[in-house]
């Protein structure tokens, strides 16, 4: 059974100007513990696709299954990390943020703090458990957000360009950290990005999307051994191949 399976999922909006297709018949299924990246230009519906899986949006037609169960609304079986640093609750410490999902689950205080601290350790921030988000750098805030999304042990982790607002050095560091976390936790990850190098660094498979209407154009496997060397010849070759899939679509 796949952690995530989409069957002919489509989304259309009715606007005053007529019906707009946001996403056209998307189908795919993840392999166990797979790292799946979704790549495409702005307006290709990649975030829409993620929001559908997250349950923030309901598809017009088709079906989404998470761990074999149809998705209807949000749920603790999916952890979500957004791009915006402001996703953390400023009135809660790093520990309090990470413990939030466990609190909603009804886990008692001592236990949820133990689990939260464990996850802060996973992202290398156990020393900052008592810090409020505004005292943390952007990269650290995103690490807390990752710990928060993992702490209540969801089956899948959904990430919407989580490192796009970080500087290049921090982004590289965060990608390495995420690859390690993924190896340690073996979660199924769906990761949205517009950065081709990032997709090649992280993904087992890359879903390439195209705009107008948003649609899956290709699903490209990345068969490089891990840990990956972003400066290696094979890496650059894979990047070029992926770029090729994106470029070809731009021709009329």
């Amino acid at each position: 059974m796949s952690a995530i399976e989409l069957r002919e999922v489509a989304l259309a909006y009715d606007t005053p100007a007529g019906r707009v297709e946001a996403l056209r018949a998307a189908s795919f299924a993840t392999a166990p513990s797979e790292f799946l990246c979704i790549v495409g230009p702005s307006g290709c519906g990649k975030t829409t696709l993620l929001n559908l899986i997250a349950g923030f949006l309901a598809p017009t037609s088709g079906e989404i299954l998470v761990s074999g169960r149809p998705v209807s609304g949000q749920g603790l079986d999916r952890g979500i990390v957004f791009q915006d640093f402001a996703q953390l609750f400023p009135w809660r410490t790093a520990l309090g943020n990470v413990a939030f999902g466990l609190e909603m689950k009804g886990v008692e205080r001592a236990e949820r703090e133990r689990i939260a601290l464990e996850h802060l350790r996973l992202v290398g921030l156990e020393k900052f458990a008592g810090a409020y988000p505004h005292h943390l750098s952007g990269g650290m805030q995103q690490r807390v957000a990752i710990a928060r999304a993992l702490a209540y042990n969801p089956a899948v982790l959904l990430m919407d360009e989580p490192f796009a607002a970080l500087d290049a050095l921090t982004r590289d560091e965060m990608q390495r950290l995420l690859a390690e976390i993924w190896r340690a936790t073996r979660k199924t990850v769906v990761y949205v990005t517009h950065n081709v190098a990032e997709a090649v660094y992280l993904a087992d498979r890359v879903i390439v999307m195209t705009p107008h209407p948003g649609a899956i154009k290709a699903i490209v496997p990345v068969r490089l051994p891990r840990p990956r060397d972003p400066l290696g010849v094979e890496f650059l070759q894979a990047q070029k191949e992926l770029l090729g899939h994106l470029k070809r679509e731009e021709a009329p």
Binding site: L76, Q87, F89, M104, Y132
Partner: protein, 252 residues
């Protein structure tokens, strides 16, 4: 001590005018005269009793206003139906000065605490309501999304996300409500209180041309306002929204 430079300057200017001989000494008493009157009233306990009854009215009115304003403001933010139902009434009542109700309330409830507290309640409700309403609508949607993704809903979402998320507005609402409550209390005491309270003292002193008593009472009102701002609202702010980085301290 720098905090008091403006106060000292104002006092000095007053003292110069008082000693200039332009006005009758009984109408513009010097600071030592006022201080002496204040000391006498404090020593015989009368000032404390008047201040205590004024404070009791301020806080009864404020407590009722905070409760009603928060409940109704949050309800309006939560439900379009409530908003549509209540807004016209709020918009019609808000511009009516609370003291304009004084004759009506005196007619209905007689002179005394009921009329006074009701006037205070009226004055303090609107800033509380408007701020709770704005605050709840200004809560970052990302927090609501993140919380919903972690299984928060209903009462938990309200208490753990909406209320702390609206905290800067709520504190501003409390501050304004407190200010309005003071203005309304002192005003109402002049009209509706029978024989106690700082407003009544000021009004009563007029009969005997006791400018020193009036000014001593005004000084007490100013001092109490300052103390509450500094040690109640300032402290509340430092312990919450400033500590959480949701508002910034003024530039140094």
């Amino acid at each position: 001590m720098r905090h008091f430079a403006a106060v000292a300057a104002a006092l000095l200017a007053y003292e110069l005018v008082a000693r200039s001989g332009w006005f009758a000494a009984a109408l513009v008493p010097t600071l030592p005269t006022i201080a002496h009157t204040l000391w006498t009233m404090l020593a015989d306990g009368s000032m404390e009793r008047h201040a205590a009854s004024t404070l009791a009215r301020v806080f009864s009115g404020l407590a009722l206003a905070a409760a009603a304003g928060l409940v109704l403001g949050f309800a309006m933010a939560r439900s379009r139906a409530v908003e549509r139902f209540v807004s016209p009434l709020v918009n019609a009542l808000m511009p009516i000065p609370s003291l304009a109700w004084a004759p009506v309330f005196i007619l209905w409830f007689g002179l005394g605490n009921a009329a006074t507290v009701l006037i205070v309640f009226y004055a303090a409700s609107f800033p509380m309501l408007v701020n709770a309403w704005s605050g709840a609508r200004a809560v970052n949607p990302l927090w609501l999304r993140a919380a919903a993704a972690m299984g928060a809903g209903g009462a938990q979402l309200f208490w753990k996300v909406v209320v702390p998320g609206a905290a800067p507005f709520i504190i501003t609402g409390l501050r304004l409500a407190f200010q309005r409550a003071w203005i309304a209390t002192v005003g109402a005491e002049m009209l509706a209180a029978s024989d106690f309270g700082l407003g009544w003292v000021i009004f009563d002193a007029k009969e005997f041309l006791n400018a020193d008593v009036m000014l001593a009472s005004l000084a007490v009102i100013g001092a109490l306002g300052y103390l509450f701002e500094r040690f109640a609202f300032g402290a509340l702010e430092r312990a919450t929204v400033l500590r959480w980085g949701m508002v910034r301290p003024g530039q140094a």
